[in-house]
Amino acid sequence: MARKIVLILLAPLIVEIAIGCCHCDDAPSVASLYTYKSIQLENLDNRGAEPVVSESGPYLKEAYGLRVHLYRDLIAHSSGAPVSFFPSAYAFSCGCENNSSISARDSITYVHIITLRDFDASHQAGAEISDLFRVQTESYGTQELTRVGEYATGPYLRYASADRFLRDMTFDILLFAPPAAGGLYKFKIQFTLSDGRVLEQETPEIQLM
């Protein structure tokens, strides 16, 4: 009789353990959802070992760059935690795969860097000069220079978008084909998003020497 009473008392706990262990979600759950909100530009001086933000010029044209801050808004969040009085930490693993994914609602489809002053003989004011810039990337000690459009629309930002703790993103764009002559220059960067919006920002007029 006593055994039956103990068994009846333990029955909910056993059922809870079974549910807690072996309930695997087949469909991926979206834990967070972001949208791109705005961008901010800073001028970089890359004369040294690492690029540093410099508010005032003049800038060495061979060592000039832009630091891009991409700000995002969190527009949805789902913890996905089931309601249970049995903590999953004490449950045995049933080998469920982690199907949760985190993604941005919108993605970057195009990036344009435009000179707002005459840059050189082949790039007049209003011309796109994205190809003269590169983003420096590093992975396990290996460094590469990536085209700006490829970086912004490729896996680099997509993987960064999947980081739930990384709300805003920052990367450096460096000028690798400087103009022959020094002078006053001004640039604009445009990010075209998958929902049709365009985020853009201009640099102040800067002195390249």
Binding site: R47, L60, E62, E144
Partner: protein
Amino acid sequence: MRSLLVLCVALLPMSQAYAQLSKPYSSRWQTRIVFGTDMPIKNFPHGNAADYLVGYDSHAGYLQIFNSSLFFSRHWGLDAGYQIQMPSTETESDFHRQLETEYGDAYYVTSFVDGDGGNGHQGRGNLGLIYRFESKRLLVYPKFSIGFTNFETNSGTAYLKEKNANTITQVRYEAKQYSRTPFTFIPSVSLGYRVRNRIAVNVDIAGAYFKSNIAYTKQTRDLYSEVISTEKLSMKRNALVLTVGLGIVFTIYEKDGK
């Protein structure tokens, strides 16, 4: 090293059973444990960054984990052994230091060596003839062996960020083979003093000479223009070291079947 001395002390009382020393030339099969160090007489030159990727250290300490002699006559026998060596070089930091010397005036240098950073394996094996002179206490064993020295040839990469410019150049030193195992000539003499019936302490003095052809490819790539230039580095290297070691000789089997 300390553990080997402790082992010596521990083994001496165990041989109390052998009250009398064996007769000279009675041993058939001996084995020994030796530890010691290499000392360079002729070292590899170090002229460029690739030289520092070659994981051979002529100052390496060693432990002879296996050495055995089988005597087939009164004086002559066969001797074989293998020693693991403990190189003390810091390949990654030495490589970086050399790159700083070569490029540091004009560039900021970052670098890495593939794998575990180049602090890898080094060893030497030998097989040869042994000759013996023995008295009641003293053992003198000249030997001549041919063997091999094994060491790693690592690959490494440097990134040169130009000072006052955005330009970045990748310099890759790629070894043709991951490791080298050149033939090695090893004349040596082992001097022993019998302390118990089947146990002697000994000093090993050896020379080791080898010649190795080491090939590297140096690839220089401008990361923006993707312009690549390639240079072959062929390095003929000779090494001659003197090795000195201390150890214990155990007689496993004697002539009369004991």
